[in-house]
Amino acid sequence: MTCARPEDGTRIWHTTEGVHIDVRGLEPPEPMVEILRMIDHGAVESVLIAHFDREPIFLYPELVDRGWNHEIVPSSCGEPDCADEVKLRIVRWGA
């Protein structure tokens, strides 16, 4: 799975796997808030791939309550700054 963030620095981009959002560098709990804002506002149809610099454990129950599942997937962008990232694939149940 690719995770290359656009060179213009935008935090949200699209690939064939789904919508990506990079929330690395944000202070907790802003990464969680950004993800939930996208989901609650209908900005994601079925698959969101989120790039974190720490595991968002408090996000998981919120996702479950909204009917979304999640899995940690290996990071494979090849960039040095991806080495420590936590990549989460978030999928709407039934999608």
């Binding site: 560098g25 202070e27 907790p28 709990p29 802003e30 969680m32 808030v33 939930l36 804002r37 609650d40 610099d53 720490r54 595991e55 454990i57 408090f58 998981y60 129950p61 479950v64 309550d65 599942n69 999640h70 899995e71 940690i72 997937v73 420590d84 936590v86 694939r89 999928v91």
Partner: protein, 422 residues
Amino acid sequence: MTLAATFLAGAKSRLLPASIPFRFFATAAVFHVLMWLVLLAWTNEATSFRGGPGPTLAVVHILVLGVLTTTAIGASAQLLPVATRHALAAVWPIKLVFWLTVPGIAALIVGMYAANPEIIIPAAIVTVVGLLLYAGLLADNLRRAGNLAVVAAYGWAALVALVLLVGLGLLLALDYEIGVLPNHAAAALAHMILGGFGFMGLLVLGFSHVLVPMFALAAAPPNRPSFIAFALATAGVAIGSIGALADSMPTLTAAALIGLGAAVLHLWLMSRVLKSGMRKRLGQSFLLIRTAWILLPATLLIGLAALYGLAGSNGPTLFGFLLIAGWLLTFLLGILQRILPFLASMHANRTAGAAPPLLSELAASAPLKLHAVCHGIALAVLSLAIAVDSTWLTRAGSAVGLVGAVAFAWFTASVTRRALHW
């Protein structure tokens, strides 16, 4: 591999085993019940308490050590490694903290109740060793706190207060036997300020910068005013502690006013968080949290009034009661009832490998409603009891508080059972 199963592998790295945080939370729930029970059944002079060994000192330490400190240890041991991205190097030190502090606290309470220095001193030493070990673990995590600058600043200040607090506590214990302090009452007041406003208070203010935005689904407060509030709060604690040790009324007055400034700024930051949050219906936990927020400046105002003899003959007792049972206990119980289902859900995720439970399934609302009502009534009745110096009202308020504490223990047991056996 299922989505949930894949998650299990990743989550193990930074989540402690469920038994670690939940043993501290369960202990706090038991001590919470015990506190109201002792106050109800065996305490006669609580309304005019000014210090000294006996049942009321035991009740105070059941609350501050048994309930507040164990909750703080459990929460910080679980949350900080997640926030800082560094798991604890090993699990055994935090287990050792539990096995030193909890028996130490229990023995200390027995010694205080019986006014027996031969029990108090060794129990205080064991408790201090446990708390210093916890301080070491906290320091190890705080130094990696990275972009959690405000939380880390509060954490470091709380840690310094903890070290001073336990040192002074040990001297107070030794003073019963070998007379090492020139002014026991002044040292006891400094001990209370360092414990209530210092260690516990600064941790509460610091963790609020992550937990309240997380619950409200809002951005964290801006750094600049947060650091101003931090500077005011730590200055208030430092000046207050010095003022207490020096028995200086002007210094204590300055500390209370600076603390009020910190409180007002903190509450303004928190109100901004709630206003900007995506979640507007925050549930009954925020009833407790909002009550605690009102009680924070109220405590400081009562303290200021008591300093000048304007809060009645039991003003100092009311100040201490509002500080530990009002602001701190109310806030922690509000936070705990939000955190426990979260943690249970995450641990249930890990152990099940199947569909994870909903938060609403884990947070039984009936015991929490009963607890919130009883806690509010108990605070009001006991405040009145202290103001009018009524033992009868103290017992009535304690009975109501006991019912609430049993309800909260029921909730804690229910969530803990699900976290460990889902």
